[in-house]
């Protein structure tokens, strides 16, 4: 039904996808797996018409599909539920469902849209969504289901699901699988992009493994184990892919009790020097809020809040940096870097003093530190003066991380630092994080990849609905336990 041949896409010097072939038969669920940054999303976007490939071709039912044209894809029956939800926040649920592929000239009847939405939602068993609700106000899980529902409104011959279950609880996942089975029963093809291997065992008929933008392996139902798949995705066995941190020290660097904020419910946390504390759970359950609250980017209050032994009443990023914290935000392009500014300036941003030097004089004074950081992280750049926007994603992320190195930090908060970067940079970042912890800096690491949490962290707290569902360490810290706690199931001691 769907055949892609030799797909390639570069963003400047960075290869996102190279020579990828993919076939998906009608009635089949084909999984597309790979680590963060392997290129899965790019392939999905190319197939959906949201991104134009540099080379290669896509055919649907034997007919070639013009690239870069979402409308053409829809006409061919190819629909996609995107990872970065493609819903218009200011529209209502009904409008997001009704306004797909409508011509410019045309009337829009609100009443009919709502009635249509009611029907569609009923058909798809999504009765809990209110057609009149504005999408921007909905919780992430509802929005994700709506994104999927929107992809199901047309005459679907090929459905692309890009990390469609990242925020869904088990009932939501069951719902998704039911919809998938309905489609495959009708003869449609489903491409399921994910890195959650547990789901694949149930739903995937065949699969393709991507690593570093290339196809490295295939598998069929029942013929694979998780370990094999992880090894194929990483290129080496999991244990070797992840460095182990040194034992944590005893001194407490960060402690909160009763931390409450919008999306966070009574969190208690203690971080020791040199400890790598992982934060897991389904997307949208408070992980981002936890990190931002601890850093002061989100207003929060707590019964007890101490950083490096000093009491804190209210936190702002300015105070956080002064108190010895560091933060690597979720979106490196918009929140982590000023892309038009130089590498050096981005590294030195937190360390600017209003009355002190800036620009060239500052770089001259801090040159030794800048060179040290760039070398320690093996950042591929022509020098501190290069605009950071010219670097690859992995190197950019290293710059975001590097600004906190060798600056007397007590704790560093990381929001999914390895998302969307290439494998080599990812491993270099792992080493850097472990080295940082070895120097006595506490690390709080929110990751969407369970493997990272399980192999590189001393302890992992799993959040569910804004509260800590479970804390796992030592023998209890396994991938199954993390996934289980993420859905509200505390692991049974074995």
């Amino acid at each position: 039904m769907l055949a892609a041949r030799a797909l390639s896409k570069r963003y400047g010097p960075i290869v996102a996808v190279e020579e990828v072939d993919l076939t998906c038969l009608g009635g089949e669920v084909h999984a597309l797996v790979g680590e963060n940054g392997a290129g899965k999303s790019t392939v999905a976007k190319i197939l959906a018409g949201a991104v134009r490939a540099d080379a290669g071709e896509v055919t649907v039912g034997g007919v070639a599909l013009p690239g870069g044209d979402v409308r053409a894809a829809h006409r061919a029956g190819v629909y996609c539920a995107f990872q970065e939800l493609a819903l218009v926040p200011d529209w209502t649920v009904a409008e997001n469902l009704a306004l797909v592929d409508r011509p410019l000239r045309g009337r829009f009847s609100r009443a009919r849209a709502i009635a249509g939405a009611v029907d569609t939602l009923a058909r798809l068993e999504l009765d809990h969504l209110d057609p009149r609700a504005v999408v921007g106000d909905l919780p992430l899980a509802d929005r994700q289901q709506l994104e999927i529902a929107r992809a199901l409104t047309g005459d679907v011959r090929v459905l692309l699901l890009d990390e469609a279950s990242s925020a869904l609880t088990p009932p939501g996942v069951r719902w998704l699988f039911a919809r998938i089975r309905e489609l495959t029963a009708r003869g449609a093809a489903v491409v399921y992009v994910s890195h959650r291997l547990g789901e694949l065992a149930e739903i995937a008929d065949r699969g393709t493994v991507l690593r570093d933008g290339r196809v490295v392996d295939h598998f069929t139902r029942g013929s694979w184990t998780e370990d094999e798949l992880i090894t194929a995705m990483a290129g080496q066995p999991a244990e070797r892919a992840h460095p182990r941190p040194a034992p944590a020290r005893t001194e407490t660097v960060l402690e909160v009790e009763g931390l409450t904020a919008p999306g966070l419910d009574d969190i208690a946390l203690r971080l020791r020097a040199g400890e790598v504390l992982g934060v897991g759970g389904l997307q949208g359950h408070g992980q981002a809020e936890l990190l931002r609250a601890l850093y002061g980017a989100l207003p929060a209050h707590a019964r007890r809040w101490e950083v490096a032994g000093r009491r804190v009443r209210r936190m702002t990023p300015v105070q956080a940096v002064r108190a010895g914290l560091g933060f690597v935000p979720e979106d490196r392009k918009r929140q982590g870097l000023a892309l038009t500014h130089s590498v050096g300036e981005n590294l030195l941003t937190p360390w600017l003093r209003a009355a002190g030097p800036g620009g060239t004089p500052l770089l001259r004074r801090e040159r030794a530190w800048v060179d040290r950081v760039l070398a320690a992280l093996a950042v591929k750049t022509t020098g501190p003066r290069q605009p950071v926007g010219a670097l690859s994603g992995g190197n950019q992320q290293k710059v975001v991380f590097g600004r906190w190195l060798d600056r007397d930090r007590r704790a560093v908060l990381l929001h999914d630092p390895t998302r969307g970067i290439d494998v080599r940079a990812k491993h270099e970042l792992y080493e850097a994080i472990v080295r940082l912890a070895g120097e006595g800096v506490g690390v709080i690491w929110f990751s969407t990849e369970v493997e990272e949490l399980v192999h590189t962290c001393h302890r992992v707290v799993v959040l569910y609905r804004g509260a800590i569902a479970d804390e796992l360490a030592g023998e209890r810290l396994t991938a199954d336990a993390v996934v289980g706690a993420a859905v509200g199931r505390t692991a049974v001691a074995s």
Partner: protein, 327 residues
């Protein structure tokens, strides 16, 4: 990998230098070309006197646009410059009985107050800069009409006129005093923008305000200082304008509203913030000023001048300011 990075530095360094040049230098190149063009069409224009008078006009526009540059660099805009100029000029000329210096300080203090008002609303109340400065502009217009009595204004003090339109002998020719003084001001300000922590923070906030906040920079305080400085510079411009032209009116600041934005944009700054220099603004002002000189000489009429202004802005923005393609 290491072999490649050894070759890269030299080539990339050259690219970086040339890439950094254009935005600030091309307005001067265009000005030079226009000046020569004027000389070709009307040889009498090709004189030092002609150059200095155009330059003086441009320098005044550049000083009026200095505060605008700072506002735009930090990702905002200052649409209250028009009446800040008027209020400052009127304050200056209403207080000269206390001495010229005191009058000047009062005018600058008025500008600082305007900037403080703008800055507090924009930085703390998070009101959009366009809306707030428009509101302030209106407020100031009301103050101009209510608080000042035009019949009570004094003449411009001699020293003020000497420092602006008075001639200084330099290298055998005479140039208006405002030229070297204005240049010193702009260069000094640019040094502050480029070489101090506050100045670089301003650029960072203009490029990526969320990143600046998350990196621990005190964004609100930095913004506030930026708007205060814009206000003070606007007030200074008002004093300079009143002194140079030796006249005031209720609408004396109006042409500088869009004119200052035009000078900044033609000077190569990004309207979105994060880039731009005061020297570039001077270049932009020179281009606009030279067009204003050429047009009457070539008998083209003021409408053609406005048309050319519009075309130049479009050309600059089309060359340097386009948004990224989406697919």
């Amino acid at each position: 990998m290491s072999a490649r990075s050894a070759v890269l530095p030299r080539r990339a360094a050259w690219l970086e230098v040339t890439r950094r040049l254009p935005a600030a230098t091309w307005p001067f190149a265009v000005f030079g070309a226009l000046f020569l063009l004027g000389g070709v069409l009307r040889p009498s224009l090709l004189s030092l006197d002609g150059l200095w008078s155009t330059a003086a006009f441009a320098m005044i526009l550049a000083i009026a646009s200095a505060g605008q540059t700072i506002a735009i660099v930090q990702g905002g805009i200052d649409l209250s410059i028009a009446n800040t100029i008027t209020v400052a000029a009127l304050t200056f000329l209403s207080s000269t009985q206390h001495g010229t210096l005191v009058a000047l300080l009062l005018a600058l203090a008025a500008g600082a107050a305007v900037g403080l008002l703008n800055g507090l609303a924009i930085a703390e109340l998070e009101i959009s800069p366009i809306v707030m400065t428009i509101a302030t502009n209106g407020l100031l217009f009301g103050i101009v009409l209510l608080a000042f009595d035009f019949s009570q204004l004094t003449d411009t003090p001699q020293i003020a006129r000497d420092l602006t339109s008075g001639k200084i002998a330099v290298l055998g020719t005479e140039i208006p005093a405002i030229l070297p003084l204005g240049l010193a001001l702009l260069v000094g300000l640019q040094l502050v923008l480029s070489r101090t922590g506050w100045g670089r923070a301003l650029y960072l906030i203009g490029s990526a305000s969320e990143m600046a906040a998350l990196a621990g920079l005190p964004v609100r305080r930095i913004r506030l200082l930026g708007y205060v400085l814009s206000g003070v510079l606007g007030a200074l411009a008002g004093v300079v304008i009143a002194s140079y032209f030796a006249q005031t009116s209720v609408t004396m600041g109006d042409t500088y509203l869009l004119g200052s934005v035009a000078a900044v944009v033609v000077g190569g700054a990004s309207i979105f913030g994060g880039s731009g220099t005061l020297i570039g603004t001077l270049g932009g002002a020179l281009v606009l000023g030279q067009i204003a000189t050429l047009v009457p000489v070539l008998n083209l009429g003021v409408n053609v001048q406005q048309l050319i202004y519009g075309a130049i802005i479009l050309a600059v923005v089309a060359l340097y300011g386009r948004r990224r393609a989406d697919v």
